[in-house]
Subunit: 223 residues, 2 copies
Amino acid sequence: MPPRSDPQLPERILNTAARLLATEGPRAVSTRRLARELGTSTMVVYTHFGGINELTRQVMRRGFAEFGTELVRGAVTDDPVADWMTLLWGYRRFALRQPHMYTVMFSAGLADFRLGDPADFKAARASFVSLLRRIHACADAGRWDVQDVNTAGEAVWSGIHGHTMLELTGFFGAVGRDPIRSYNEIGTRLSIGFGDDTHTTAHSLSKAKRRAARADRAHTAST
Amino acid sequence: MPPRSDPQLPERILNTAARLLATEGPRAVSTRRLARELGTSTMVVYTHFGGINELTRQVMRRGFAEFGTELVRGAVTDDPVADWMTLLWGYRRFALRQPHMYTVMFSAGLADFRLGDPADFKAARASFVSLLRRIHACADAGRWDVQDVNTAGEAVWSGIHGHTMLELTGFFGAVGRDPIRSYNEIGTRLSIGFGDDTHTTAHSLSKAKRRAARADRAHTAST
DNA sequence: ACTTATACATAACGATGCTATGCATAACAC
DNA sequence: GTGTTATGCATAGCATCGTTATGTATAAGT
């Protein structure tokens, strides 16, 4: 019953919104800007998404999917602590590559995201579950002594999320400090705090850093 | 040369802005809303502050001052780890009492704040320094083995900042988890990770929690 | 072929930050 | 005491934002 000149207009709106978010930040994702980019009117956002908030939620859902694949990427080896640290570096890599997306996902938008349907929240929680799995492996291997995996996961997530937010706001650059060094510190102290030996933790750390460097090179080469 | 009907109008603007931020959040702090509250025009914000960003910076400066006094409040005892954990609970207490202020201070506004004059940045860093002092005490007492106090401080700050942001966005409430439990976990694992004994850390933790409960009661009684 | 429903454009409302303009007045020079 | 000057403030307007009401053209159903 409608004209529907372009059957995949919703898809194009989503792509444009994601591109504008990545390149120019959240403020560039406006109904009028999208209409200008797409050659349409501002109404298309409301016909297909119901508003700018709902559109942002859809973009966030994509972000969480991409975030999830980034976190699962790392292989499972015989060194679960190194595997865990690899996930930590993957976490940081995603945030640095998509700073605007990460900021929207975990600060401004998270509250709205939570209020939506439970399916949305599960998308966000999926990335957290992959962290829990790595923690569980460390406990199973006898490296860590973890009573409650969820609590441990929340502590780890707090550390890497806080560091990421501080790094994205430019704190480390402003005081001339190295963010990699403190990121190492978080992983190291937590691993020891969970019961691992100091030297084996250091060994796992250097292993994970080598993997992270390889992953960085692989990405920069592919793009 | 000016009429200057009210010599302390800037002060009143600041007070109103701080009140609106605390009670209704950042979106309520607009030039038109301020003009309505104060019975003036929107121009007063520009004559006295140059714009809404500069006004926000001034409000943040106040926030950091209050934040600093909250963090220094705790006494220095013969248990430096307990003193450090007391600072952590004070950190959380401030954020929960002034959620909007904390959010502006450490996410949206921090970047702008950094770009201002160095005096502003020192105000923000002062609260960080009081954290470093507590860490130094733990190392001096032989409880912790810390190579670089700054790096350790950044790791600690990342943990408590990340946890605070997650709690303020409503994450723990959404999944039905206890934020106090994971906040304990952060302090405990980091303290052990820095080299402290597991049992003495637990002892210091319970000591700090008793102090925090007392501080909470003292505040609720005074207000 | 006619009816119906709907995707989209146009236009407008209230809100935002900010700027240009004008005025009334307090502070200065004498 | 008088005149000049500079400035705090109000008014009005600009561009932008999200959203809604309205009209129209067209694809789908009968």
